[in-house]
């Protein structure tokens, strides 16, 4: 109860902070939209013949959403470093609020922020030609998946920030997403990958997340694809939340 109460008020603080810094949130929206536009512009024409993707816009919308969410989630790590640097994190640690609430509140706030940014990108994707085979229910599942992925991914930035307390290191939370993205079937289906790349992509959680999202957008309800996506996000979340908890224990020792 005490944890839930503290978490609730800290989530409100995190969301308020997000609303008051549109300049921090805007690039997380604009950059993925820019990449969405240029990648579609470059590859859309050849996609059907080259690798059998008939609606490349629909193929790319999940990439833009995932990229935006990773950007949003990485901001939390940077904010935590700022809190540490200005002494506010110590002030929070000095309250009797359960320390796990400091972490949980960030994860939940990132889930909400991730769903909001996804809710902006998805209609843009639909407006430029993406289908949504599973309709409104599919859109809700997409947003929930993105919320879960946001929470899971924010654990990485938080673990780095809490362990290092260093703003430069906190940026790694953003940069780490690029290898995860590029080593997944973000731009072409996995079938056309070289064997080594395919082997790497098959152990990359982003591969399964994109697979689940693409099935909702391009194909319809597919329980197996969705299950893989949920499992990938849950697995990622379990690892990152553990790392973040260990880092918090280090910081609050």
């Amino acid at each position: 109860m005490r944890t839930a109460r503290a978490t609730y008020y800290l989530v409100l603080r995190a969301l308020r902070e997000s609303v008051r810094q549109p300049e921090v949130e805007l690039p997380n929206l604009l950059i993925p939209l820019f990449f969405l536009a240029v990648i579609i512009g470059a590859i859309n024409q050849i996609a059907p013949d080259a690798f059998g993707v008939t609606n490349y816009t629909g193929f790319q919308v999940p990439v833009a959403m995932t990229q935006a969410v990773a950007g949003v989630a990485a901001v939390s790590g940077i904010v935590i470093v700022m809190d540490i640097e200005r002494g506010y994190f110590d002030k929070l640690l000095l309250t009797p609020a359960p320390r796990v609430a400091l972490l949980l509140s960030r994860l939940l706030a990132d889930a909400v922020r991730s769903m909001v940014i996804s809710a902006v990108i998805l209609p843009i994707g639909l407006a430029i030609g993406s289908p949504l085979e599973t309709g409104v229910a599919g859109a809700v599942v997409l947003l929930l998946l993105m919320g879960a992925f946001g929470a899971a991914y924010s654990g990485i930035g938080m673990a780095i920030s809490l362990r290092s307390g260093n703003p430069q290191a906190a940026q790694l939370g953003v940069l780490l997403f690029f290898p995860l993205l590029f080593l997944s079937p973000a731009f072409t289906p996995i079938d056309v990958f070289e064997p080594w790349m395919r082997a790497v992509a098959e152990v990359n959680p982003v591969t399964y997340l994109l697979g689940g999202m693409r099935s909702l957008i391009l194909e319809g309800w597919d329980a197996a694809d969705l299950a893989y996506a949920v499992a990938a996000v849950a697995g990622l979340g379990a690892v990152t939340a553990t790392l973040a908890m260990l880092a918090l224990r280090f910081r609050a020792r």
């Binding site: 902070e17 200005r86 002494g87 002030k91 000095l94």
Partner: protein, 330 residues
């Protein structure tokens, strides 16, 4: 001004040792006891271990050895309950610039488990106390340094703690803002019997506020007592010979040491402090001796011992404060 009527120890430390990585020893066995209703001043130069002591006593940092109790609760085993009892304002006014003053205090109160009406009433009360009621809805980033310090103090008091730790509460503030903070501390101590443990780099602050002072040097307490006791322990007047160069200070000290009745001479970069009984008579003799020895000096002053002299006697150097509020040893 500084009345005391206390008997129960509410802050205790026994053999506190803190070693950081690479073997840096910040605290070397600190023992202290602060009684209920007391204002305890902790004086020391930068790096002497003041903040480390506060961080340990407030449960932010684990000691390498030794321990402590706050209101009878062990700082290691009962850390959560200790945090419920204490208010803390650390050296950096730990504030979130994006919140307004009122929002920050409301959140702080809620994290202490205070309910809706109770926390709103307390926030209004504290904003009045620290003269920020008119600025409560402004973002903290628009506050001046003094306003931030006052808000930080208010946030430390949100749950009406009976024990408050303040780590250099007035560092970097102008004299008016400093005086305002001093008045809050005095008022809370006198009216609500709040116990204060405050570190400071301002001797004047310790002299005005503290019932008792401990001087910390290189992780050890080297002097402890009330300001009056510590000054009385010197037992002499202080004749300070100001000079232009360090070698002149050493020369002046050599000369002064030859004078009868000199209890001690301490040399700093630009002065020699001569501790001598009947300083009035000694001044003329010191001037004569310096002239005879052709030892150059720029001025000579006679004073009763101050905490500055106490600090110098205890540590071998003056405590100096630069414009940025950083301490440095002479």
């Amino acid at each position: 001004m500084k009345e005391r009527g206390c008997a129960i120890a509410v802050i205790e430390a026994e053999g506190l040792v803190k070693e950081y990585e690479r073997g840096v020893r910040a605290l070397n066995g600190i023992d202290l006891s602060v009684e209920e209703g007391e204002i305890f001043g902790f004086l020391g130069q930068n790096g002497s271990g003041k903040s480390t002591t506060i961080r340990i006593l407030t449960t932010l940092l684990a000691p390498t050895a030794g321990g402590g109790r706050i209101a009878g609760l062990d700082i290691r085993r009962d850390a959560g309950r200790v945090r419920e009892r204490i208010g803390v304002a650390l050296q950096e006014a730990g504030l979130d610039d994006l919140q307004t003053g009122a929002e920050l205090l409301l959140l702080q109160g809620r994290l202490y488990g205070m309910g809706g009406a109770q926390v709103r009433r307390r926030v209004a009360e504290l904003l009045e106390l620290v003269d920020l009621a008119g600025d409560a809805e402004r973002p903290i980033r628009t506050y001046s340094g003094g306003m931030k310090r006052r808000l930080d103090l208010a946030s430390a008091l949100i749950h009406a703690p009976s024990i408050v730790f303040l780590d250099e509460p007035t560092t970097g503030l102008d004299p008016i803002a400093r005086d305002t903070i001093w008045r809050y501390i005095e008022r809370l101590n006198q009216e609500d019997r709040v116990t204060f443990f405050l570190t400071t780099q301002y001797l004047e602050e310790a002299d005005r506020l503290a019932h008792r002072i401990a001087i910390l040097d290189a992780g050890e307490i080297v002097a402890e007592g009330s300001p009056a006791e510590l000054k009385a322990e010197i037992g002499t007047d202080v004749v300070t010979v100001q000079v232009a160069a360090p070698e002149d200070a050493r020369r002046a000290a050599e000369v002064a040491r030859g004078l009868a009745g000199v209890a001690d001479v301490r040399v700093t970069e630009n002065s020699a402090a001569v501790y001598v009984a009947d300083g009035g008579a000694a001044v003329a003799r010191i001037v004569r001796l310096l002239d005879d020895a052709a030892a150059p000096f720029t001025s000579i002053t006679l004073a009763q011992p101050t905490l500055d002299d106490v600090f110098l006697r205890a540590t071998g150097h003056y405590l100096q404060v630069d414009d940025a509020g950083e301490e440095r040893a002479d």
